[in-house]
Amino acid sequence: MRGRTARRLVGSAMTGVTYGAAALAILPLAAILGMLILKGAGSVDWNFFTKSAVPVGEPGGGFAHAIVGTLIIVGLACAVGVPIGVATGIFLAEFGGGRFGFTIRFVADVLNGVPSIVIGIFAWTWLVKPMGHFSALAGGCALAVILVPILARTTEEMVRLVPNSLREAALALGYPRWRTSLQVVARTAGAGIVTGCLVAVARVAGETAPLLFTALGNEFFSTRLLGPMAALPLQVYVYAVGPYDEWHRQAWAGALVLIVLVLALSLVARAVVRAKRQHA
């Protein structure tokens, strides 16, 4: 009897500890979000989404140029990075058994660990300097370089989860190897790959360092891909270190919008997975 009570006690104590650990893990996110809402929510109004920067001391300025800039630059990063990343992932999972696959995997892991400022400098050296000017395009490419290895590795994991029996069934029906990979395997892993994309996009959307020396930032509303463009993280950074209260408030609001954007992407990712599961 005593042994059982002791076991039960230890059991509930351990459960308590895990709950505590989970709460601790969530605490920073909750604290950040709470702080941002406290400091930033007051400055998020209609103007914030529809107006661009105004001179210091004038009311009614907004972050429209930065929000649109971030959407365009991240869109560019996806257009460049998603096909390469997903294709690499499928290759690694389906055909990447040999030495070449090992090398690619190794390079992707190394690239994953490279500090993002280094990737910014890389993009500056190969795109900004030869072109002779800063551009949103260079910013998008820098973000794509960060996006590709993340996406390649998550796609690989997702494709690996597809049971072999499916591949065998497709091959047995006379499908060639490439069609099996693309239409059967990749399709089955679809929800996972889309989640991977969204998580990777959420990860790069908040990057500041690679944009500093590529997209540069812009005071004006600009959608020209070959010119400097504003982005949320850049604008938040510049305003946060500035001397004016008004800027600090806008920086808090910008940070709030950015984190809500990233949170929304993560939630969409979860929803996609759930919908696919119920479908299957």
């Binding site: 812009n218 891909l225 209260d245």
Partner: protein, 362 residues
């Protein structure tokens, strides 16, 4: 899956195409980058200038003085900006094709946190150098109490706070200490970041200000504009003439006027105005510069840039006080006019010789 994927791609490509076609036509766009300190006033000028000249978009981004010089040298920007002048070696790297144009003035102030002391302290160059060298370690040191009679300074250790990042603010501070203290000049010297003998580092003006605020006995230096905008108290500093001066926009302008009085008319403006002459001049002030090429290739861009810089150093100066920047003294503006008129495209001057006549005082 393929459908979702295709949709994602379509959205991305759509955004790109839309973006490309929506670009406004007929605008003149210039890009500049550099110093962080003048960013607010530059941003104000450029947005104001755009409302007055809707076809001109001048975009300035604060990436730091070092970055500004680098990008200017690599021709990735149309103009640069820096809180510290380019060195002779850096000027050689652009084959001498650069003009330094002072735009506004900044100043550094000593800020401190001594429990129980609310009075405004007085400092001299010697005392500041002694503190930042780690030679004066207590607030009740006779060298401090001697110049602050009647203020009950406690037996508290001094904690020095300096910038951890490279900064024009540090350049001005160490430039001043180098001038007033041979010991500092020999042991530390001047620069945007130096080997500090003692102290804690803080990131940016906000980092230094908050570290000082949280540390009893701390002393640090921040930009005047930052101290004014954030209601931070700061001390008086004794100038060359022997007066204790409160840093202000006016006393910073006086510092420039004091230094400029002895200026060669053909100066390249790469001058330090710390520890200047002048009874009411604040001793820790500095110009900040725009870097523009002497000889440009694109006539439209050249004309636009020069007209903007002309406007900024004349009409634009009226916005300075509102943002806590000190105005350029008149004699400096007169010299700058000559320098701006010397800029050429294919060897021909861009601005007519009579440019600006009749516009003054508009």
């Amino acid at each position: 899956m393929t459908k979702t994927f295709a949709a994602l791609l379509a959205v991305a490509t759509g955004a790109v195409l839309l973006a490309g076609s929506a670009a406004a036509q007929g605008s003149i766009r210039l890009t500049g980058a550099g110093a962080t300190f003048p960013y607010p006033i530059y941003s104000k000028w450029m947005l104001e200038y755009h409302t007055q000249h809707p076809n001109v978009e001048i975009n300035y981004q604060s990436i730091g003085s070092g970055g500004g010089i680098r990008q200017f040298t690599d021709h990735t920007v149309d103009f640069g900006a820096s809180d510290g002048p380019m060195t002779d070696v850096q000027i050689q790297a652009v084959n001498g094709n650069v003009l330094h144009i002072p735009t506004v003035l900044g100043a550094d102030v000593p800020t401190y946190n001594i429990p129980g002391v609310t009075q405004q302290l007085r400092f001299t160059g010697d005392v500041l150098a002694g503190i930042f060298l780690g030679q004066i370690t207590k607030w009740n040191d006779s060298r401090i109490t001697g110049i602050n009679p009647g203020i009950p300074l406690p037996d508290q250790d001094i904690v020095v706070v300096h910038r951890s990042d490279g900064s024009g603010t540090t350049y001005i501070w160490t430039d001043y200490l180098t001038k007033v203290s041979p010991d500092w000049a020999q042991r530390v010297g001047k620069g945007t970041s130096v080997n500090w003998p003692v102290g804690l580092g803080g990131q940016g003006n906000p980092g230094v200000a908050s570290t000082v605020k949280q540390t009893p006995g701390a002393i640090g230096y921040v930009e005047l504009i930052y101290a004014v905008q954030n209601h931070i108290d700061y001390g008086l500093v004794r100038n060359k003439a022997g007066n204790y001066i409160q840093a202000s926009l006016e006393s910073a302008t006086r510092a420039a006027a004091g230094a400029v009085a002895t200026l060669d008319p053909n100066t390249d403006f790469r001058i330090s105005i710390t520890d200047p002459d002048g009874a009411q001049a604040y001793p820790i002030a500095s110009f900040t510069w725009l870097l523009i090429p002497k000889e440009m290739s694109d006539a439209t861009k050249a004309r636009t840039l020069l007209e903007f810089v002309w406007w900024a150093t004349h009409d634009g100066q009226q916005y300075n006080e509102g943002l806590s920047y000190a105005r350029l003294p008149e004699p400096v503006v007169r010299l700058e006019e000559q320098r701006l008129k010397s800029v050429t495209v294919n060897g021909k001057p861009v601005l007519p010789a009579n440019y600006g006549r009749g516009q003054r005082g508009r």
